[in-house]
Symmetry: C2
Subunit: 228 residues, 2 copies
């Protein structure tokens, strides 16, 4: 198709523009001392359940807030309201990913005082492809993979695993029912991104959340330490 | 972002170009008497397992072939080799969807004689957003939704449900373990696309496949009837 090279060129400009906004966001987050975590995964991998549990547990002792992206509906924001922390829904319409400018606009619209926050979570649209190219200024990008999805996802969607910092295997309570092969999943993750940290959780039973929250708190502490 | 309007304009050209190729494909498929079914879903919804079962059962009495799209790996084609029907893997690189031109090229590369086929299946890249805009010349588009994904997917990804003809609820064998609410899922599908046909299957146990294959055979017969 002869329109392809032009599309690539325009897409490069969009990505370049996104990187500029993301860089600015990252500086603001750092200056405010807020640790920003983004979540990417397929639709239905359990991002919202994972976030709900994280916000509820972390919200008891830290100041946290969340931005949640979806094409349509504010279901996720409604679900997360139970966690009693500030949550803002970003509706993207037909756009298959969040962009840094949407994060920026949402923070400004909500007039959140970033210096009052310790953690900000950003849940991306459910998509294992497109979000990989868009930096949101986050400190940590999590890719979630549910046991129901199949162990070869990292090989099939290598870019998203490559651009993420930590892999979270979700729905561990179903592992036996779906005959999940943890060793195979782990080995596929390591093939795509050698050394990647992998955590396993069940948002239903709560298993794995102690380790996850400990990891998160340490990651923030070491970031602040590096920044000082 | 000032590059956005230009991106939209270029994207329109790509879609227009895709539509031209898809129209040509649809005419070729119709002339050859091959019934073409495409499959879209999130990564991990069980497209490949569903296709494997379908090819195996249908392949015993009809001439069938399949094109399977993925960003990377030929895992799906290898898995489907067991069905003993012609299967060709399309690797899209970083592209998050199949385009009509890729289907056209693959058919030409494989030198498949379309007149020899009764059914051709096209498995799209696992993505609930981007494939919705790309016509592949298919007669029937299936959107798959696994019981492990949550009942609100149709509301969150309305466009893909709107552009599909039939919804297939997969992994029914896990319905109880994940507390799947079929009535809620059905009602959400009907809210997005009133009257949409919904079938339920388990590729593991084989339940629901009789009804699915019967539906498929009737759909092809009535298309041929209309065409004659």
């Amino acid at each position: 198709m002869n329109t392809q090279p032009r599309l690539v060129e325009v897409r490069k400009n969009v990505l370049k523009q996104n990187d500029i906004v993301a860089r600015d966001l990252r500086r603001r987050f750092k200056d405010a001392g807020v640790f920003v975590v983004s979540l990417v995964s397929s639709p239905g991998s359990g991002k919202t359940a994972f976030l709900e549990k994280t916000l509820t547990l972390l919200g008891q002792r830290c100041r946290v807030a969340a931005l949640v992206g979806d094409l349509a509906t504010d279901n996720d924001a409604v679900r997360l309201a139970g966690a009693r922390v500030p949550v803002k829904q970003i509706t993207t319409g037909t756009l298959c990913h969040l962009e840094a400018a949407m994060v920026q606009t949402s923070i400004e619209e909500e007039a959140w005082d970033l210096e009052e926050l310790e953690f900000l979570f950003i849940e991306n649209v459910g998509n294992l492809v497109c979000p990989s190219s868009y930096d949101l200024g986050e400190d940590l990008r999590l890719v979630l993979l549910s046991v129901a999805e199949g162990e070869d996802k990292p090989l099939k969607y290598p870019t998203i695993f490559n651009t993420a910092d930590v892999a979270i295997v979700t729905k561990m309570d179903l592992a036996e029912a779906v005959e999940f092969d943890l060793a195979a999943a782990n080995s596929n993750i390591q093939r795509v991104r050698p050394g990647m940290k992998v955590l396993r959780v069940s948002s239903k039973s709560g298993s794995g959340f102690d380790e996850w929250l400990q990891f998160l708190t340490s990651a923030r502490a070491s970031r602040l330490h590096l920044a000082s």
